[in-house]
Amino acid sequence: MNGGHRSHDCRPGASHALALFLSGCLAACSTIPERVSDYGPAAAAAELTGTPFHPQERYQCGPAALMTILEASGAGTDMDTLIRRVYLPARQGSLQTELVAATRAEGRIPYQLAPKLSSLGAELKAGRPVLVLQNLGVSWLPRWHYAVVVGVNPEADEIVLRSGTERRRVTRTATFLRTWRRSGYWSLVALRPGEMPAEADRERWFDTLAALEETGHIRNARAGWQAALGQWPDATVARFGLANSEFLLGNWAGAEAGYRALLVSQPGLVMVRNNLAAALLKMERVDEARDEAMRALRQAEGTAAYRQAIEETLAEIDAAAERM
């Protein structure tokens, strides 16, 4: 049954980045570490039998796998759109970064799981299938393949996948882990706005939301920060992120409240003070804005990056003062 994959090999363009991943991995991962292969506490069999299936055209496992997780998350999209978005004919494959970007464009939050079988199982239990990148060849002759994990069965030691033209491919867990390891355990989950990963890794989640902000998916970022604060109410990054999304959505008063609350406990956070000044300026409270910006500038003594940003804010404040 191994041959089933052979005729559907599918190369992502990012083989260079992956090669780096792999070379770093060669020495360290001759065996799969237990923290990766552990099914997790109270692991039970789980399979999302209702997950849709999109048998792939040759080389197009990227769009097919992406379509599968997007559809499972309720995103209304179609295969042609996805193929246009993520498939690179010249490389006969899709880049991982394209899959991530397309997930954002479809209004979902692309989250990469911590490299652990237990995280994978937790996502399935939360009802979300997981897209994975496998190398079905060997490290020196890679054959990249995107598939979707829809089931784990700790008792039988098996993983169930939507893969290539097989609706239900059952693989021994050890085999799956070997092929997954060669991609640096790369995975992708499509979360709905406001949802959190089942086992959210704090840093990963914050990076995910900051990337949403950077790419202009502000509403989804805001929902994400709100959810994050439910789990880590004191996280400075999440409070800053939430205030920033209010700012970027034009809710200046909300942004001001968020920045001020942060500054009460941490008055030394220069970038928060800079953003407070920017929010005040938007509300045409020029004098207050200047006071905060000047204070931020004094606090930023010696840190070139923030100084520049604050000086730009100050320049805007001066320009606004002249217009008034």
């Binding site: 840093e203 990337a211 992120g241 800079n274």
Partner: protein, 127 residues
């Protein structure tokens, strides 16, 4: 002549276009993005981890034996870029993955690795 004038015009047009793109970004910016705070916290975390390692009694002793000054090394670390720090932290992490740093690779090796990576010595050219 005419040709080069046209070229100059096009060049200026492109330059202005590029500049104005940059400027709209700056003026809508004003606000510093969340990623800046994430990066700052990551940096602080890495520095703390590395400093704690240097402060370990056995590591400190080894440093002294090699004639290296811990405070000097810390100052060097403080001046490293985020990318350099990430590499140093990652290198140490890769060596010790799954175990205690000293137990796995030995104090001497660890100290030499730190010295090399902060640029004090030049031992592991091929590492």
């Amino acid at each position: 002549m005419n040709n080069s004038k046209t070229r100059l015009f096009v060049f200026r047009l492109v330059a202005v276009a590029l500049l104005s793109v940059g400027m709209t970004q700056v003026s809508t910016a004003g606000m510093i993005g969340t990623d800046a705070l994430i990066e700052e916290q990551a940096r602080d975390g890495r520095i703390t981890r590395i400093e704690q390692l240097i402060d370990r009694e056995d590591v400190a002793r080894q440093l002294t034996e090699l004639g290296a000054d811990a405070e000097f090394i810390k100052a060097r670390i403080g001046n490293m870029t985020n990318a350099e720090l990430a590499e140093l932290d990652g290198r140490i992490g890769a060596q010790v993955a799954g175990g205690d740093a000293i137990g796995v690779i030995g104090t001497v090796f660890l100290v030499l690795l730190i010295l090399e990576l902060v640029g004090v010595t030049d031992i592991f050219k091929s590492l």
